[in-house]
Symmetry: C2
């Protein structure tokens, strides 16, 4: 039986007992509405750790004004079934008031990294992410926490935070899981209309094309950006938020492509914001 | 024998071993150049906990440009002797590069509270404090951490941080220790000239006078501030930074005095910044 815990105090006590028994905790923080990307993280935690904790919390702090906090998809009973099937042990499922009681005032932020890429379009977003992840780490006390590479910038920032603040949590970033047609799995894919869904795979196709161009010797990031833009714009309904050609660690823009390179894309397809990326070696 | 540890990794391992053995850790974070105020915190930790850890780290992040980081007094061998006498078990004494390696980027801050009182005169100061304390808590893993009430705002902010981020560390704030003539003990008292040192006790005298006024029915914070200013200015060499009459929890200014009230003073005596406070019940 999977255990559902809603109180911070109970979760902390349970984690302490698990640690005192000498067992390891693998942790997958999520906002729920789980897909195979999340489940792949749970499976990895299941293989590597004694106890698997999954949190489900739609974190208001990481949504900006006018973003999709209210309509963000939620379905706890479906999530619970998926997590039982994936053999998770504990679901930590706190209310917003439990995590952010009245008078809440503390923030964790990672400078430089948080203002680039998605951080430029979504000011405050990553501060919301690092704050909630710091809280969750303190509550759940994981040995290893699992994140998806689809949110590439997120895992870079969380690794930095964990190292800088000496949290003693290992951050494991796992490959993006995709639909058969290449679209990166995301809870936000549920927003797409039938036509949008049909056109969405062009995002990943454009990344694969960029990969080919780089492998064939293209060194100019401007050329790469143009090629991606052109391919995505060949389909209707897209607005490009950014196309970044960057260092995968510092997230600094690269003008000339050399060494490991992150190619990351954020687009609006209708009203839905979608992101994807590849790292070219 | 007292143990001196300079590496974060070693301190973390040792703390983990102590916790696994079921022992409690009492922690006193300091910037060294210890005085009886620090020692009273160590004594309390000694009484309440199995293992007492004291950190000595002059934290550059909490000093502003033009402040006294470089000349801040340091004397490790003297501190070590005092801590042996006080029966501390472990001194954690890391280098600056160990705590803030190249590329360090993460900050912890408590909004609202950090901008008031000392935070208004020392922008960034409390962000430096909360960041280093968050790191130290993660490294040392204390059950209880001890702070002095002389730095009243500091302990308010650290309590808030520990609660907000679910750190699981109890914060114990202990009364200010004073010289015989009433001057609050502070490592910065070492900066005072003979004449300044002779005049310094007027700070605490002015706070005691404020206490009397409030007890005798004065309700106007303006009247209290005037009385304190007048008394302090009766001695030469003082420049008042602020006099606050505030709520001891929110640190909000009180116009009319009612309930528990914090009266806090920051002055420059020559070039030395001194602070002191009382809470009137």
């Amino acid at each position: 039986m999977i255990r559902v815990i809603r109180s911070i105090g109970q979760m902390k006590d349970l984690s302490l007992r698990i640690k005192k028994a000498g067992k390891t905790i693998g942790f997958v923080p999520t906002m729920g509405y789980l897909h195979d990307g999340h489940i792949s993280l749970v499976s990895m935690a299941r293989q590597a750790c004694d106890i698997v904790v999954v949190s489900i919390f739609v974190n208001p702090k990481q949504f900006g004004p006018g973003e999709d906090l209210k309509k963000y998809p939620r379905d706890f009973s479906r999530d619970k079934k998926l997590l039982m099937k994936a053999k998770a042990d504990i679901i930590f499922y706190p209310a917003v008031k439990e995590m952010y009681p009245d008078g809440y005032r503390t923030n964790v932020y990672v400078s430089d990294l948080s203002g680039k890429l998605c951080g430029a379009s979504r000011p405050g977003h990553f501060n919301g992410v690092t704050t909630i992840v710091a809280k969750l780490f303190n509550i759940v006390k994981p040995d290893t926490a699992y994140f998806g590479q689809k949110d590439f910038q997120q895992q870079v920032i969380i690794k930095k935070m964990a190292r800088d603040l000496n949290m003693g949590v290992k951050i494991s970033a796992l490959p993006t899981i995709r639909e058969r047609d290449g679209l990166a799995m995301s809870s936000r894919n549920a927003y797409l209309s039938k036509v949008e869904r049909k056109n969405a795979p062009v995002i990943y196709r454009s990344l694969k094309f960029a990969n080919q161009l780089i492998k064939s010797g293209v060194k100019s990031s401007t050329a790469i950006r143009s090629a991606i833009t052109k391919l995505i714009k060949s389909k209707p309904g897209f607005k490009i938020d950014y196309i970044a050609v960057s260092d995968p660690e510092t997230l600094e823009d690269k003008k000339t492509i050399n060494g490991r390179t992150l190619v990351a894309v954020a687009v609006y397809l209708g009203k839905t914001r979608l992101i994807d990326n590849i790292v070219v070696r």
